[in-house]
Symmetry: C2
Subunit: 521 residues, 2 copies
């Protein structure tokens, strides 16, 4: 199955049902089908052909969803851009992907001034009211397309490229993750199998739509003809309002977003009873945040673990597996990313490539139709990541007797101090149990004797105080001495985060490692 | 994905959970994995090789499930035999399929006496206590296999043959429907997408396990690590007991079975509260039976429509779409087989091959990874059934504005009387609304003037009476005069049924058409 076939099904089984709610805009799957058909034709009239790249730099809105499907229908590859990127990073990606058409909204139109630095770009489409002179209005493209006679829908091969999703660049240049129609559709099926979403569901796009955490659901929810609700960008109050007003049943938030909504003073005044599944993922979930969420909102939390390269779902911890008051082996699972999702093989292997025994730390590897064919024009990086068909995630984990998987750390976030492995996530979990801690991140900083020393960066809750000594004593009561931070740095402002809401540890590390060639000693 | 990969996943995510409950036998997915591994080795030791056929003639039990998976693991094709077949029919199928190993239970062991009529058979495995001299005990095969060192698990191709499922033979010789691993796994995925079954579900095998109505669930429920409960053969009391005692959450029953359970005098004394989804299918559901079921058991009914050749799911009418007290367009859907299932394309087309408009009658055709590659060694029958990749079902149907599909009749059950098309199902639905009607079937019988005349065969409920005149007056109040039966035949015993519980209209027609070359005038 390719992506557009999912839309065809949605139109057939839910044509008269509401498809999108975006500000004042509401329309059905029938209309969505017409608009994406017209948009695809409009793109074709701008010279986009099968295989060409169309980049998008926008906040969340229904037109983002339309672009995903218009590109899929005509066989173009979408290149969703991280909204937090600096201009040089954007220019790099546009050139690297040889993007032919760029779509921007009013928030980002100024970013792309001077597009002569990207010779491949032939047109810029503008999503907004007052279109700059050198751009074409989005709705004009749709209207133009709707007047064209011939369909541009393509019979795709499952292996055709559907999109380039650029990742991190935390270690060197950004890499374009190629995802095929097969990758995206199989992930959508796996997500549906894990969740049971159906056409009566309403999804809230609050996490950014360029990021796979949300993108996975773009396709899954569309295939069943469910309803999409959009807010332009994450904001705790807008999330609460949207859930209440549109009776949202499911959404994904990254842990920092969950934390922000939970801690919002007005959170308790909204009716969130429609919400049946709040998926969290994309970075480690502090245990205390999760417990607080379960206590306040009930057993609606579900975890999805994965990465861009796996389109993204690898494992899931379902709502019923989130037990706070239960047997120790049940409660322990709150620290787990769950088990292998149906449709993908997930293993945790040691250096010899054998499945680890319970307790032993190994790397998570995965195989399945959702795994990317590779990085765009980076055969060596691809070969390093995918070995014998298995994607190597770089995440270190243990398993228990029931095959629940527990991530101990990203391999690059693990701290080696005095020869001991310290998993930053474990230390962060200990710090989060202190009532005054709003946010924290634990990193390794250079140390002449131990190589690296454990260092904590902490943001306190407004109006609450805790000293370094108190916090370290609090940690010492929970974790081994060598894991306790040697130093604490209090920050007044929120920790730096990626466009997807992940705390950017590399930014925190930076000042300590100035002049060093790499971030480990 | 091939079939055995689904079991691998079940073992990984639900290894310690109960897999099967069959009489006194209960064990986990871990044990199921071990037993099917041993059984596959044992079959190999009997000379079964990849591609060979293994036939099964048994009542429902956990060993039937084991055979499905043991064959899949080693790459053998299973040939599940209809338990109602006469000996010559069995001999035909065993020879046609060139079966190498046959598995029988004590109920059917006598059927296969004189197996010298099937030269391909090398071994007969016996599922029971006292093994006949010329057979091998099932458990001995498992024990023997468990002592073998080498695995016989195969890396299958998705297109490898997984089973031969012989159908009907209502029109000529039985045809072996070939289903590949891809067919079976994609159907299982489609069934899971339609239902949301997960590892906390318990399925009751009450419909016969040779028939695709139940077989579809064999694989779907296993893939998620759900629990299988078996009763040897359908019996209303055993169904009620199993649901109550094992807290069954889902099952499939054919309409005659639903009718029998609903009308059982003790039905109201059982606790059926665990049952969340009662799927019905395989033949038309009388509207009155469905309404009574919804009234007694609540909104737990879901319809699955399909056929052996499509592995089988094509369309579904979900529980929430079963509305008795609602708007007319909602209630009307109780007559519908629902909408296209996700994962398969279903169309209703007219003679020109175009999608029918609402109200127009056309044939249901389908395309997707669940469609059989063809009939075993019958290229002409295959070419007649599958045209340009589309399976032609032979079912006549209309659609409404929301793409709900309404089957008006099997094309071969449609009666042409005086040039008018009379759809037997519609007439039967009218008769079923009479309180005294337990079962009925409407057929065409030869008529010198009209070609065919509409004829009803009716079984009255015990202790209730209705005359031919009363029943026809009752029908006349509901349907057009030309559809009202010209004659009614009351039978004292249940109507003849297939092994899957379908009413055998060909048997009812037979005496009227003696000496005619075909069953239509």
């Amino acid at each position: 199955m390719h992506i557009a076939e999912g839309l065809k099904h949605a139109k057939k089984v839910a044509g008269n049902r509401e498809a999108v709610v975006c500000g004042e805009t509401r329309y059905t799957w029938e209309v969505f089908d017409q608009r994406t058909d017209a948009l695809a034709r409009g793109l074709a009239s701008l010279g986009v052909q099968r295989g060409d790249r169309v980049a998008v730099l926008m906040l969340n809105c229904h037109r983002y969803l339309e672009l995903y499907y218009a590109c899929a229908r005509m066989g173009a590859a979408i290149v969703p851009l991280n909204i937090r990127l600096a201009r040089p990073e954007i220019v790099f990606i546009l050139n690297d992907s040889e993007t032919k058409v760029l779509v921007v909204d009013k928030t980002f139109a100024s970013h792309i001034a001077g597009r002569d630095t990207v010779p491949s770009i032939e047109s810029v489409i503008y999503n907004g009211e007052v279109t700059p002179a050198d751009m074409i209005n989005f709705e004009d493209v749709v209207i133009g397309g709707s007047h064209m006679r011939e369909t541009v829908d393509q019979e795709m091969d499952d292996d055709d490229l559907a999109g380039l999703f650029y990742t991190g660049g935390t270690t060197g240049r950004a890499k374009g993750v190629m995802l095929s129609h097969k990758n995206i559709v199989s992930n959508a099926v796996n997500a549906l199998l894990a969740t049971g979403y159906n056409q009566r569901d309403t999804w809230l796009h609050a996490a950014p739509m360029f990021h796979l955490a949300d993108v996975g659901s773009v396709f899954a929810l569309t295939m069943v003809g469910a309803r999409h609700v959009f807010i332009p960008i994450f904001n705790p109050v807008h999330v609460l309002e949207a859930i209440q007003n549109e009776k949202v049943t499911c959404t994904i938030l990254v842990p920092t977003m969950v934390n922000a909504v939970l801690n919002h003073p007005d959170a308790g005044t909204y009716d969130l009873s429609s919400l049946k599944r709040l998926v969290y993922g994309a970075s480690p979930m502090p245990l205390e945040v999760l417990k607080k969420g379960l206590q306040k909102w009930g057993q609606i939390f579900a975890q999805g673990y994965g990465m861009t390269e796996t389109a993204p779902l690898l494992t899931g911890l379902d709502t019923w597996e989130h037990v706070v008051d239960g047997a120790p082996e049940q409660v322990r699972r709150l620290n787990s990313v769950g088990k292998e999702a149906l449709g993908v093989e997930v293993r945790v292997v040691n250096a010899e490539g054998d499945d680890v025994q319970p307790g032993e730390v190994g790397e998570i590897i995965a195989r399945g139709p959702n795994i990317m064919p590779g990085y765009w024009r980076m055969p060596e990086a691809t070969a390093a990541a995918i070995v014998d068909g298995w994607m190597h995630t770089g995440d270190l984990a243990t398993v228990d007797e029931e095959n629940y998987i527990y991530i101990v750390d990203r391999s690059k976030d693990m701290i080696i101090s005095g020869g001991e492995n310290v998993y930053s996530v474990e230390v962060e979990n200990a710090l989060y149990t202190h009532a005054a801690v709003l946010e924290c991140a634990v990193i390794g900083i250079p140390h002449s004797k131990w190589g690296e020393a454990v260092h904590a960066v902490v943001v306190r809750k407004p109006g609450m105080s805790v000293s370094e000594e108190e916090l370290l004593a609090h940690a010492r009561a929970q974790i081994a001495g060598y894991k306790v931070p040697r130093s604490v740095e209090f920050q007044l402002e929120a920790l730096p985060k990626s466009g997807a809401g992940k705390i950017l540890k590399r930014d925190l590390r930076e000042k300590y490692w100035v002049g060093k060639s790499k971030y480990v000693n």
